[in-house]
Symmetry: C2
Subunit: 198 residues, 2 copies
Amino acid sequence: MKMSELSERSGTTVATLKYYLREGLVPAGESLGATRADYSEMHLQRVRLVRALIDAGVSVAQSKRVVETLDSPPTSRHDLLGKAQYALPASHPDVAVSAEVTDLVAGLGWQVSPDSPALRSLTGAIAAARSAGVPLEPESLTGYARATEGIAAVDVAAVPRDDLAAALHRVVAGTVLVDPVLAALRRLAQEHVSSGAT
Amino acid sequence: MKMSELSERSGTTVATLKYYLREGLVPAGESLGATRADYSEMHLQRVRLVRALIDAGVSVAQSKRVVETLDSPPTSRHDLLGKAQYALPASHPDVAVSAEVTDLVAGLGWQVSPDSPALRSLTGAIAAARSAGVPLEPESLTGYARATEGIAAVDVAAVPRDDLAAALHRVVAGTVLVDPVLAALRRLAQEHVSSGAT
DNA sequence: TCTTCATGGATAGTCACACTACCCACGGCC
DNA sequence: GGCCGTGGGTAGTGTGACTATCCATGAAGA
């Protein structure tokens, strides 16, 4: 398809598409001479992914890291999570993992790499909440953790079995884009639970 | 305390504090004449809350709505959730609630107001994820919803019983600031679950 | 063939946001 | 009496995400 069609179908202006191309968020189309290029369904998908990431609050620079990862698929299923974790935008990337977090994970019996960026994110997020007057007792954290096991079970079940590239796409895009879904569900569940209904 | 002390203890420059005061994010201190004012522990708490919200990605304008809500506490426990939902920053505030979301909530047996902003956020978040190639099957959504019930149970259990103002603070701040904690836990749980350990 | 128009490629401009810097006048405080 | 911290105000800064304009080219319709 032509750029104008890519623009229409993705709901993105041509100027913005050019910007994404410049920034490397979307690969160049197949050149058909100096003044024409052909874009495929893959390009359309990519533009939609980039738009969804940016609308979800991910910066252009972080989005670039994400899509670059998608362009170099993992060699094995075992690589999947590692590649995804490394590509995903992480908050508080430079705090030191607290002993509390280490103990929490150990107490849960979770098998996670001590280098996982999520450990740093968790440490930072807990500190931020507490500094704002949200106590976050250890038993609350344990309760939250048990609930996220259920979330992760759904996540893992939804990953395609055979196609590694599709699996990586699902893990990376799903991790970022399902967070807002979970946040909304959490608010609804709060309303339900606090209404006292069974 | 003096403004300089408030600045030190909150880790915020005097210039930024003045900015927050101007924008109404922090109430003025008690005036001690024309060139001096006294700030209390409440002001320090408020500054830390504002900083945490802004660091979490909430805009200044939205943060103002949040803290304004805290300044007019609810008259009853019943008001709590309503006031909080109304004050909290919501994504996709102007989409129409989809039938799928209505059916999902009904199928779960959840009691929620049909006007809840979270229904709109959920509709928008699902649409955003799908447009980026994350399918989100109905059974996945149901699974996520069941897991968020556990999260909400922890949330509700952590709300102070007697002090309504403290309860509102906890609900509002907790809802926004615990989201990143849950996101980090989710990533760790993914790693654990996908490792195949029981 | 002539004209129109979309494209690639590049540069510069815009807009919102969250500060940040500077200024002034005043009034405690040593 | 001099100096610093403050309230109050205005203006400037840096970043991020576009957005607008320009130009040369070449495809496609009249």
